[in-house]
Amino acid sequence: MLAYHRPTTTEEALALLPNATGTVSLYAGGTDLLPRWTRGIVPWAQTVVDLKRVHELRGVARDNGEICIGACTAMSDIESNATIREHAPVLAEAAARIACSQIRSRGTIGGNLCNASPAADTAVPLILLDATLELARLENDKVERRTVPIVEFFKGPGSTALASAEILTHIRVASRPSTWLAKWDKFGTRPSMEIAVASVGLALDLSNAKVQDVRIGYGSVAPTPLRGRAAEEVLKAKPLTEESMNQAVDAAKAEISPISDVRASESYRRQLVGVMLRRMLERARNS
């Protein structure tokens, strides 16, 4: 490492990026970056721009019926934040299931998303919540902001819609009616500290005896966290029946594209997604 910067504003951070020496890395909690650097999986960045002191990027706020989460908010803050626990509990639940408390108090939600692992645990809950991501870059010395829906943010393992010299600043989710239920779950190879072998999220509103506003999401079973549009389609505007649940499970298994790796085989991942979705649907129906 040749240079380490610790800006306090987004603008300052962005201004550092084009002029930096050698390879640059934005640095939030470092819980994805450091293990990769120290294991020699990627070379250390020559310039590190630490975002943790950028005030704008931290904390959770209510904004016009939306929840606005700063990209550098630590997982432990997401997990314990009263607003999130009240209005987007599924996100708090996922944050609480990440790693251990040490990692959660350093690792950030923005880092989790920008790292773009198919196994990022906050991605699927944010898919259920239709999150939009706010990105900022510098154009003619002015901070330019754009928004990207979460499903368009992930491009592949480790790859996102972020342009070079662009920063993720905020994550926005809308409040939902109290009848809208959301659940996310992951399955690992050990009860604690697990990295998802597969994760599934389901959200729906059954208050009119029909499935409304349904969202399904999958993690670790495709190159990116994935929204389950085919399974959603099967369920939409129908009562939750044995038949529709079976069809949704079949659709889910068909629309994912898991791989076999050191954690699990492709076929096991498919089965897991089926079992997890099926159980969630059954519980939704029985509730």
């Binding site: 293990p35 120290t38 294991r39 020699g40 432990s76 997990e79 314990s80 934040n81 009263a82 626990r85 009240e86 509990p89 599924v90 708090a92 639940e93 944050a95 609480a96 299931r97 939902r176 009616p177 109290s178 009848t179 809208w180 239920l181 959301a182 659940k183 779950d185 992951k186 399955f187 190879t189 050990r190 009860p191 604690s192 500290m193 697990e194 990295i195 050191v262 954690r263 699990a264 085989s265 096991y268 089965q271 897991l272 079992v275 997890m276 159980r279 969630m280 059954e282 519980r283 939704a284 029985n286 509730s287």
Partner: protein, 870 residues
């Protein structure tokens, strides 16, 4: 009381005894505060940093090594290849050299090494070394290695089988004829990594006279000195081994590993001290593992449950080189022959070269593997014959004072007590399914909780409002909440989450009657805080109970001509005792045990005892810390040295006070009157009287203790240990039939430990053993493909964490072995040995499906359930 109990004389019953107390490890404050100076904390003046280039090719000829670019880097002080050193073969198979000259036979083979001013420069230099290889045909499995025309891995072993082990007693054919039921299976066992918290390392430091000091993490300092001498060309009398605090051994430090002589060569080449330590990734790649093996076993029993025969053929994947681990069949045969009475036993083992990473000793020394196979088959035989597996085990268990068919004399044997105690504690009769796979009752009496579950499992502040609030139905378990975000809990509820389904909380009731001779300890653990949201509805979760026992050496193992340990003891003028013991401390707690034994004997408080155990220039000889031998052998040695000091002190006091020695005793730093317990003189005065009085002597004693064991004969029979340890674990599991997830709910462990010396230490050993055993049974697996390790990090090598531990309950069966110090037996390896077998038996009891491979990952379990159409 069982007839096995041999009472010790109650000569000093009145005195408060230290034996059996809960004593923290002596170095606990240093370790807990971070003040302990581990190898990585030691920085000698002018010290350089070493690093190794590993082959990263499983089988190849070395064509050329170009070190010129590495040598040009500023700060690089030496770059060595095999061409630069004298190559002396070493290792148990004499098939290893520090650096490899012509051929690499596994990815971890050491090819070159660097010493530099900083670890970063050393790492850079390693990256600049260019090696040209010519790949050779790869041998990835023992089957392939033993096939006709297989590539030869080491020229001197044309058949790729460097070692074979045979054992036999009785007549297998006769056993087969006598059997009413016979089972036959092949058990496939994986590689397991030691995962010592402290990674490997060494500092090599020459002085001006060419004497070599090694700051080494070895478990066997004296043997080490002897063995490393010829490799590095330094006579053993010029080698001093100092062991800094060692962050775990578990058998991994029994061998000389190539990095150790390499570091010496770097120190010699640079004439500076060199420290070489491994990163965690290097630790995973370049240190040996537990032996992977296939055990083919056939065994039989009569209608009445009497075991008739056991016929075992095993193939061990030795990897590309040989370590001490190649001798594990020598211990495994003892379990096959002597865990239970079996009249006809035969074992044949082939240890086979492959191009995989190699294996070494690991806690249990093959015994967890042997026990897994054997105890699985006991369960199968019991099922076939319609016996309760507990009764069947009891029927075939040895008694005290029996000599096993392999010639091991069991002065004490508490196996039957262990079987009964663990079964009682676990609720064997109530909870076990009489027929495997036919659950008597579904788990979680309560209904599983419907949508949704509860607040995130965290100790975060509870939120106020909530949406989607559902009324809690009266019959719902109290551990789950009916709405988002809400965390309304009754005061008595644990703060941990139970996920989607409120699992009925089970707590084991204290038994109302407790047998007097059982030491007893209990552990309760909170459920892990992770939620188990994927867990299925009640009818897809099944529970079962399974048991497994163990047999292991508990008084050393006579593999060398001596299995002894020396102690030197000195008392200063102030009553401080320095105990210099040959016994190495690798975290197992020998320091506290030895201090307790000495303090007890001399009637001194523990704080007066200092243990010196880490410097071969000071401490007397010992075989090393292995074979669960230290409490027994070093304990006996310390006990005798202390007894001799005690005799000297009491005689001096008797002379001074004009009393008979029998009338006096030592307690609390005083000489006391035995009859009344009244102090009559301070010990300090007696000691100073000896020192400065007429005799002008110091109170110093020494002892070399040799256990009452003998080396095995040519047929491998004989009483190789001073005592033998037994134990039984019962596991209760819950299996999810849709995902294959095995959740261990509880382990009840009963161990014949002879006698508890340090209760805190022994509980720690059991907890650690259970955690390691569960890792072996459920999650740990070094995956190797085409000779390469796929998961060399904790991300994908899954240890069991504290939060994954089940509820545990311990029973100590105190048989008071007449040869043990205060009746104690060795115990270090025992608690790991039966865990995986007990868990697999519980899975069998729950599902009716016998899984003969480890670990029991959800994917593997689901696959087997599906094959069996459960």
């Amino acid at each position: 009381m069982p007839d096995s109990t041999i009472d010790l004389p109650t000569k000093r019953a009145a005195k408060k005894s230290l034996i059996g107390q809960r004593i923290p490890k002596l170095d606990a404050p240093e370790k807990a505060t971070g003040l302990a100076r581990y190898l990585e904390d030691i920085k000698l003046p002018r010290m350089l940093y070493g690093k190794i280039l590993f082959a990263d090719r499983p089988h190849a000829r070395i064509v050329d090594i170009d070190t010129s670019a590495a040598k040009k880097i500023r700060g690089v002080r030496a770059v060595l290849t095999a061409a630069d050193i004298k190559l002396v073969p070493f290792g148990f198979g004499q098939d290893n050299t520090a650096l490899k000259a012509e051929r690499v036979t596994c990815i971890r083979d050491e090819v070159a090494a660097v010493a530099a001013d900083s670890p970063e420069i050393a790492a850079l230099a390693i990256r600049r070394i260019r090696v040209t290889y010519e790949d050779l045909p790869l041998v990835t499995s023992p089957e392939q290695a033993m096939a006709d025309g297989a590539p030869v891995i080491h020229e001197k072993t044309q058949d790729n089988i460097p070692f074979r082990y045979d054992y036999e007693h009785g007549d297998i054919e006769k056993g087969i004829q006598e059997s009413d039921a016979i089972v036959e299976d092949t058990f496939d066992l994986q590689r397991m990594a030691h995962c010592c918290l402290g990674t490997s390392g060494i500092i090599a430091d020459f002085d001006a006279q060419g004497s070599l000091t090694l700051h080494s993490l070895t478990q066997v300092p004296f043997q080490y000195k002897h063995d490393i001498a010829p490799i590095v060309g330094v006579p053993p009398q010029k080698i001093r081994v100092i062991q800094p605090p060692i962050g775990g051994g578990f058998g991994s430090k029994l061998d000389i590993h190539p990095f150790e002589p390499i570091c010496v060569f770097l120190a010699r080449a640079t004439a500076r001290p060199v420290r070489l330590t491994f990163t965690r990734q290097e630790e995973f790649l370049a240190t040996p593992t537990r032996q992977p093996m296939a055990i083919h076993m056939k065994s039989g029993a009569k209608k009445d449950g009497t075991l008739t025969f056991r016929d075992v053929r095993m193939t061990l994947d030795n990897g590309g080189r040989t370590s001490w681990g190649a001798t594990t069949p020598w211990i495994m045969m003892r379990t096959f022959s002597s865990l239970y009475r079996v009249p006809h036993v035969r074992q044949h083992a082939d240890v086979v070269y492959t191009n995989n990473i190699y294996a070494c000793a690991f806690r249990g020394y093959g015994n967890p593997q042997a026990t897994f196979a054997l105890e699985s088959q006991i369960e199968l035989l019991a099922h076939k014959l319609g016996h309760d597996p507990l009764e069947m085990r009891l029927k075939n268990a040895h008694d005290s004072r029996e000599t096993t068919a392999q010639g091991m004399f069991l002065r004490t044997c508490g196996l039957k007590e262990c079987l009964r105690a663990s079964a009682d504690k676990a609720g064997w009769n109530e909870k076990r399914n009489p027929v495997p796979g036919k659950p008597v009752a579904s788990p979680g009496e309560a209904q599983r909780v419907p949508w949704p579950s509860e607040a995130p499992p965290c100790d975060a502040p509870k939120s106020e409002g909530c949406h989607g609030q559902a009324e809690r139905r009266p019959e719902e378990p109290t551990t789950s909440e009916g709405c988002h975000g809400q965390a309304k809990r009754r005061p008595e509820e644990p703060t941990t989450s139970k996920g989607w389904h409120g699992q009925a909380k089970r707590r084991h009731e204290e038994p109302t009657t407790s047998k007097g001779w059982h030491g007893q300890a209990k552990r309760r653990h909170e459920e892990p805080t992770t939620s188990d949201g994927w867990h299925g509805p009640t009818n897809r979760l099944v529970r079962g109970l399974g048991m497994a026992s163990l047999f292991h050496v508990g008084g050393g193992a006579k593999i060398y001509r001596s299995d002894g340990c020396g102690t030197m003891l000195q008392i200063d003028d102030f009553g401080t005792v320095t105990v210099m013991t040959g016994a190495s401390e690798i975290g197992q707690g020998s320091d506290a045990v030895i201090a307790q034994i000495v303090a007890e004997e001399l009637g001194l408080p523990l704080k007066n005892i200092r243990i010196v155990n880490n410097d071969t220039d000071v401490t007397p000889w010992d075989v090393g810390v292995h074979a669960s031998r230290t409490t027994f052998i070093a304990g006996n040695s310390a006990l005798r040295a202390a007894r001799e000091a005690r005799r000297k002190l009491i005689e001096a006091a008797a002379a001074k006070l004009q009393r008979k020695p029998e009338e006096l005793d030592l307690s609390d730093g005083n000489v006391i009157e035995r009859a009344t317990g009244q102090p009559v003189e301070s010990l300090g005065k007696i000691i100073r009287g000896i020192h400065f009085g007429a005799k002008n002597a110091l109170v110093m004693t020494s002892e070399y203790y040799e256990p009452p064991s003998s080396p095995p004969d040519k047929k491998d029979r004989g009483d190789i240990s001073g005592a033998y340890a037994f134990g039984t674990h019962v596991a209760e599991v819950e299996v999810d039939l849709d995902t294959g997830l095995v959740k261990v709910l509880k382990i009840c462990a009963a161990h014949d430990v002879g006698r508890v010396i340090n209760q805190l230490g022994i509980e720690g050993q059991i907890e650690g053993g259970i955690a390691q055993g569960l890792g072996y049974g459920l999650t740990e697996d070094i995956q190797v493909d085409a000779g390469r390790v796929l998961n060399p990090s904790f991300t994908d090598y899954k240890l069991i964490t504290t939060r994954d531990l089940p509820e545990m309950e311990f029973t100590f069966v105190e048989t008071r072995d007449p040869a043990g110090p205060h009746g104690a037996k060795g115990f270090g390896e025992s608690p790991l040995i039966p865990v995986a077998a007990a868990v697999a038996n519980a899975v069998y009891n729950a599902t009716g499906v016998r899984i003969t491979e480890l670990p029991l990952t959800p994917e593997r379990v689901l696959q087997k359930l599906q094959e069996a159409q459960v």
